[in-house]
Amino acid sequence: MANLLPVVVLLPLVGAILTSLTTHLGPRRLTPLISTVTTALVLAAGCAVAFQVGSSGPLMLVLGGWETPVAIALMSDGFSAAMLLMTAGVGLVVCVFASATPEITGGYWFWPLWLFLLAGLNAVYVSADLFNTYVALELLTVAAVALVALGGRAALLPALRYLLIAVLGSLLFLLGVALVYAETGTLATFGAAEETTGGLVLLVALGVMTLGLAIKVALFPLHSWLPPAHAGAPAAVSPLMSALVIKAAFFVLARMWINLSQGSAPTELAYVLGAVGSVAALWGAALALRQSKLKRVVAYSTVAQVGYFFLLFPLVIAGDGAASALAWEGALVFLFAHGLAKAAMFMAAGSFAHAHGTDELEQLRGAAARMPVASMSMAIAGVSLAGLPPTLAFVGKWQLLHASIESGQWWWIPVLLIGGLLTFAYTARVLRILLDTEDADDQQAKVEQGKFTTVRTDYHPIPQRMQYPALLLAVLTIVLGLRSIDLTELLQAGAAMGGL
């Protein structure tokens, strides 16, 4: 079954080449179909990997029979299998959403680029080698930037800024990789942990890697590239960016911390990360409350949620055994929940923007009456992000709260609670505008008075296929919340190699 590991990377690459050919030479109408089918096959392979990992522990494969450090080693534990599942699952739903109309994808090149992105993401998740992780991060950055650039003229400059800042982050990561190699003599992600003795070089290595990856996950105050890039991207691209691309860099960051710092973890640095994450969670949410455009609200919400992820570090590194394991599970469940909910939110936001030709919140007043399904998805996804029971994010947040108490780090509790309230606040603000029928009634009068000129004149109904994918993912956050035990078991299955 370990042979499935290269499949999750190579299959999307083959699909990407095929779809590039059909897009360039024709017939173009085959492109979305091939891309969606490939994504479905990758999801099937991901399910098989997850099943295997869940039943018999981590999978490992060394390609071509070479020995380390020349070999390309692939590995999948519970954490990686869960990410494979989420990536292909969210990707497939977004594919269905994107196939509704070429206008929301920014052209047919979306399809090959998505498959390149999928290959890069999966390569990050199955790589057992630090340098291959670097290469995979670059592959996915290039694909992600190209996808953002599909958003037209206004998206070109944010795309370039994103490229430059992301490559700077990669260079920092590469520097850390080189230091780890110089210190331990191995590039294997898990081998390096055994060789390490802690010390200054390793601390510097971990520091530059953390800085580089924090840029890539847009941790406050390194987040300013994210909102223009994520909000400027086409409707079908934004969910991929916020739900999936951010996660890959965070995955690597979590791996580095858990594996490289065994026993000699720099707890002070972990507390700093937790503190910065707390500020990000509150500041991002406050900014989300002030945005006048819907996609910007959702993009700043990502900045806030990224802050939450960073509570993982103090709780896992500085906590003792049981509390640490609890925080690890909680944070990963939260990560998973965020992927589903944020994809749903961005798809709903994209639907509103597409139907109205703008995502200015003022212009969307009363839109719920016209687009009930998209509004419902937005509401459920928001409730899920805020972590209300019985959603999946609630399970994650509950475990984080529990871990805070167990490890005596009570100061994270207000952050978790206030952050949840703020999440609820900006969702409620958006919903209040969408549901504002009173205003919609005297819309006509106001237009006649000349107060509004452009409102709703360019509204046009959207295809069915654009409406239900967002609702599906939103509902999934609730269903999985009720079945979260399966996910937790999968995450525990890889614990043998996850360091915890």
Binding site: V70, F131, V142, A146, L175, A178
Partner: protein
């Protein structure tokens, strides 16, 4: 100070200056060049680290990494330049041919 240490310091300086310039400059071409300078700094550090253990027999693995890194940097530079061309083309269309030399 050994030669490797000297080169590591030069590499760190190149990276810091390149990164700072990349973050502080507005001009797009200059930013791409600065990013390349920062990249050269990182590669120099990698090359120096290869000779830290044994100066007469440098570590080939790190050299291979630098080679891959250079390929990636060249591709990304090309991609960035292509994006800049598009950005400047749309600016010319917007502002009219009169200001096209700006």
């Amino acid at each position: 100070m050994s030669r490797a240490e000297l080169f590591i310091i030069v590499g760190v300086a190149l990276f810091v200056f390149g990164a700072a310039r990349m973050l502080l400059t507005g001009d797009l071409i200059r930013r791409v060049v600065a990013l390349n300078v920062a990249g050269a700094g990182v590669f120099l550090i990698l090359m120096s680290l290869a000779t830290v253990r044994d100066a007469s027999e440098p570590d080939p693995v790190l050299h291979a990494l630098v080679l891959t890194g250079i390929v990636i940097t060249v591709s990304i530079t090309g991609f960035a330049l292509a994006l800049i061309r598009r950005i400047e083309r749309t600016e010319i269309v917007r502002s009219g041919p009169r200001e096209s030399d700006g």
